[in-house]
């Protein structure tokens, strides 16, 4: 079952490059001794990965990806980096770019570029989809702050939904830095999310601020560059998209995962937490056990922490006291040694979930004996919970205060958007927030 990746805009392409790099390194670059599985199982794993993410063309391994950007520089850079890694390549024919960018303008990306380029982009997607034996779904990588990723990304997601009504679509959106990367990022974010909510099956949120904290505090990187941040994002994405099996031996295909994680169409926001994270030097000196990892991960979920340092242990699962993070569904991915011995009952606690959901059904766990990316044991949690509410509220507040002064609105109206569209988007997101708050 294959997944076609769509990389939209500068951010999408850069994250995509690191994502495939991480998968390729984990799959092809690990010595058998470190993998903890017999040769045959490893070979089966490699075949699964190749079927899922790569296609064998002209003798080399090509990523199942379509790269879209409104200016050519980033696609060129990503393709060159892939070639340099020697593990995989991007197909030159599966790239679409124009000459001038979208100018951080959602309306420009959605209305102007959308109508102009959608036919060609859909042709490329169609071609990539036809190469798959069995198409599972689409994985779109985009940012919320810019013009192409957010605007064109939202438009293409709509087109893909119309063209492939039975496939699953998961959008990974990159939330911009709190203190401004782009001034109109709040407008772009509000407009994008409201449109994605209609056409996408799940929206996976990744926040730049949190990834940067992981880089600085856990990985001890002094001068953090965007490629460091993207490596962390790639690691997190690969940790749950790499093949794994559940208790009844079904594989973690995109559809299976999303069916579990998004039980209700009004609740589509997903977040990821992965532990452990440490710099290469520290890995050989640490020994950690599953109970410890599980405990940390549970508390991270309850207290809304994004990494294993600085967790607030004061938050407990009780109706009195500090409010804790409620979830709709959780998927746990365990990889490495002794995964069969792990006790995951702490995630099945009924208090984590709303009363109208049966708590046994809320947790799905997937395991794989094969170690992931040099970590002896690693655990990843993808949850549909109230975590994104804080950032979402923040973005909507800022966008609204800008909107009341009508600042920058003329730039969007120039390209065909109307004030009603803004108001609709605000209303849609307010509804989402209310739904999650009432969990």
């Amino acid at each position: 079952m294959s997944v076609v990746t769509l990389q939209m805009g500068q951010c999408g392409n850069q994250v995509g490059g690191q994502f495939f790099n991480m998968i390729a390194r984990d799959t092809f670059d690990q010595s058998l001794a470190k993998c903890n599985v017999p040769r045959q199982t490893n070979q089966q794993f490699i075949d699964d990965v190749c079927e899922r993410f790569f296609s064998q063309e002209e003798g080399s391994l090509k990523a199942r990806a379509v790269m879209v950007d409104m200016e050519p520089k980033v696609i060129a850079m990503t393709t060159t980096e892939a070639k340099r890694s020697g593990l995989f390549q991007y197909n030159n024919k599966q790239q679409f770019c124009q000459k001038c960018g979208s100018g951080n303008n959602w309306a420009h990306g959605f209305l102007v570029h959308g109508s102009k380029c959608s036919q060609q982009v859909m042709d490329l997607i169609q071609k990539e989809a036809e190469k798959c034996d069995r198409l599972e779904g689409f994985f779109t990588l985009m940012s919320l702050a810019g013009g192409t990723g957010s605007g064109l990304g939202a438009y293409i997601t709509q087109c893909v939904r119309d063209e492939f009504p039975h496939s699953f679509i998961m959008n990974q959106v990159t939330w911009p830095f709190y203190t401004g990367e782009v001034i109109v990022q709040n407008y772009n974010a509000v407009l994008t999310l409201s449109h994605l909510y209609q056409s996408s099956d799940a929206i996976l949120i990744v926040e730049n601020d949190q990834e940067q904290k992981i880089c600085s505090q856990l990985l001890n990187i002094k001068k953090i560059s965007f490629s460091d941040i993207n490596e962390v994002i790639g690691h997190k994405l690969a940790s749950f998209l790499q093949p794994a099996k559940s208790n009844n031996l079904t594989s973690n295909h995109l559809g299976e995962m999303l069916e579990h994680l998004v039980p209700h169409p009004e609740y589509k926001l997903l977040t990821m937490k992965t532990i452990p994270f440490m710099s290469e030097n520290n890995i050989q000196y640490s020994a950690y056990q599953w109970p410890g990892l599980v405990k940390h991960l549970t508390q991270m979920l309850i207290a809304n922490a994004s990494m294993e340092e600085g967790i607030d242990w004061g938050v407990k699962l009780s109706s009195t006291g500090l409010a804790y993070n409620k979830s709709m569904a959780n998927s746990l991915f365990l990889r490495g040694l002794d995964v069969n011995t792990v006790d995951v009952s702490s995630f099945k606690d009924g208090r984590l979930y709303p009363s109208w959901l049966p708590s046994e059904a809320c947790l799905a766990s997937w395991t794989n004996q094969r170690t992931f990316n040099k970590y002896e044991k690693s655990a990843s949690l993808v949850s549909n919970s109230q975590t994104p509410l804080i950032s979402l509220n923040h973005v909507i507040d800022k966008a609204w205060s800008m909107f009341t002064s009508r600042a920058y609105v003329h730039q969007y109206i120039k390209h065909g958007l109307a004030e009603e569209d803004f108001l609709d988007s605000f209303a849609c997101l307010e509804q989402v927030i209310k739904n999650y708050k009432d969990l």
Binding site: K99, G147, F177, I183, M402
Partner: protein, 450 residues
């Protein structure tokens, strides 16, 4: 990759433009070691085959063609021949095509009305034709850069006429204007009249205006000269400024040291602003900022498009023992009033938006750290408290390991404009020089401009 056309009008405009082309060639030649005509070079230059009398344009193609001969995508306009002739006699003459020049003999006499109405009408066809030719040679034209002064006659009058023309004929192409405003003690008496009359055109027709004041440039050049010992007496002291690293120098360009004119160091600073603004659009980086993103993010309301710029560092120090706090110092300096290109203090006024265009070896964590540090000392408007736009270009400028260009929409520009208006009103009250502006039919027309 998109192309831009530079339209230089009047003496000031052409002198700044001349420095701009020199520095652009210097930048591209230091980066492009293989001599291949790629997208980055094509944004400002055309590759031509000079064997034909009308040099044939060679397109970028797959980016592997060698550079035969470069022609600037420029249109040079001046109503007196002196400046343009100097350029065409000088070492850069090969870069300009004689068909890109529009000149007259007598000049505009420091009179906006002569520049705008008389020469505008006379040369409208020719200007339109020349620009059209330049535009047709572009694969994907994204913006016009218009450089002119506000105090003179040709620059302000004909410059604002050209802006009007560009707005009518190319409404979708962005128009960036670098306008040199007269300082308090300006040598041209009618400069307030010319400036105010031209302002109207700028407010209506430009997408973005970067005001520059001569006084500010003089101060910056003096600051650099204080730190920079003369080349003759090279002292080996600590903190010695690396030769050729100051933003006011044209070292390494085609024009040699002895040919440098007095205004050249000041014009180099202004030219560097244009280069750094377009660097992210021309070269690769981890967070690209295209020119349309600048207008999108920094112009919240259509008429408020006057942006204050500042450039740091002014020079780089050659002593490697100086610790790397220089980077944080660069960010702090960018907001001090000594580094702005107009005489204004942005720290005491309200910021509507601010863009940081960083070049060179700076990472996103450095930028984040500095934004957090500076956020508390700057006042942002309530609906845009985190109004920062950041851009990261991997390619460093010539002579420095990194640089920062700050483009801000800040209310401190109103000081410049109210000063201008006061000087205008003072003259107008006395009807000074009124008789030489015969096309100004009535005073209502004038008061509109204020």
């Amino acid at each position: 990759m998109t192309q831009s056309i530079v339209v230089q009008v009047g003496q000031c405009g052409n002198q700044i433009g001349f420095r701009f082309w020199d520095l652009a060639l210097r930048e591209h030649s230091s980066l492009n070691k293989t001599g291949l005509y790629d997208d980055a070079v094509s944004s400002f230059f055309r590759n031509v085959d000079t064997r034909y009398s009308d040099p044939a344009d060679i397109p970028v193609g797959h980016g592997l063609g060698k550079i035969k001969d470069l022609k600037a995508r420029a249109v040079l306009i001046d109503m007196e021949e002196g400046v343009v002739n100097e350029i065409m006699k000088g070492p850069l003459r090969g870069v300009f095509d004689y068909k890109q020049l529009i000149t007259d003999v007598s000049g505009a006499g420091n009179n906006w009305a002569i520049g705008h109405k008389m020469y505008g009408a006379k040369y409208k066809e020719e200007i339109s034709e020349t620009i059209r030719r330049a535009a047709e040679l572009c694969d994907c034209l994204q913006c016009f850069f218009v450089i002119h002064s506000m105090g003179g006659g040709t620059g302000s009058g004909l410059g604002s006429f050209v802006l009007n023309l560009l707005h009518e004929e190319y409404p979708d192409i962005y128009r960036f204007v670098m306008a040199v405003y007269p300082s308090h003690e300006d040598d041209v008496i009618t400069s307030p009249y010319n400036s105010v009359l031209a302002m109207r055109q700028l407010t209506d027709n430009a997408d973005c205006v970067l005001p520059v004041e001569n006084q500010a440039l003089v101060d910056i050049v003096n600051k650099i000269n204080q730190a920079n010992p003369k080349l003759a007496e090279r002292k080996s002291s600590r903190g010695h400024v690396k030769a050729g690293s100051a933003i006011s120098t044209g070292d390494g360009g085609i024009v040699k040291g002895k040919d440098e004119k007095p205004f050249d160091s000041m014009n180099n600073i202004a030219a560097n602003v244009l280069l750094n603004m377009t660097s992210s659009a021309r070269f690769e980086g981890s967070l690209n900022v295209d020119l349309n993103e600048i207008t999108m993010n920094l112009v919240p309301f259509p008429k408020m498009h006057y942006l204050v710029t500042s450039q740091t560092p002014l020079y780089s120090v050659s002593d490697v023992h100086i610790p790397p706090r220089r980077l944080d110092q660069m960010f702090s300096d960018a907001f001090s009033k000594d580094h702005q290109l107009i005489k204004a203090d942005p720290k005491h006024s309200l910021y509507l938006a601010c863009a940081l265009m960083v070049r060179g070896k700076v990472e996103v964590s450095d930028i984040r750290r500095n934004i957090e540090r500076l956020q508390s000392s700057l006042k942002f408007i309530h609906w845009n408290r985190d109004g920062w736009k950041t851009g990261l270009c991997n390619v460093a400028p010539v002579g420095q390991p990194y640089s920062l260009l700050t483009i801000a929409n800040n209310t401190c520009v109103h000081h410049t404009f109210s000063g201008l208006r006061d000087r205008f009103v003072k003259l107008y009250k006395r009807k000074v020089m009124y008789v030489v502006y015969p096309w100004k039919n009535n005073s209502k027309h004038v008061s509109q401009h204020i």
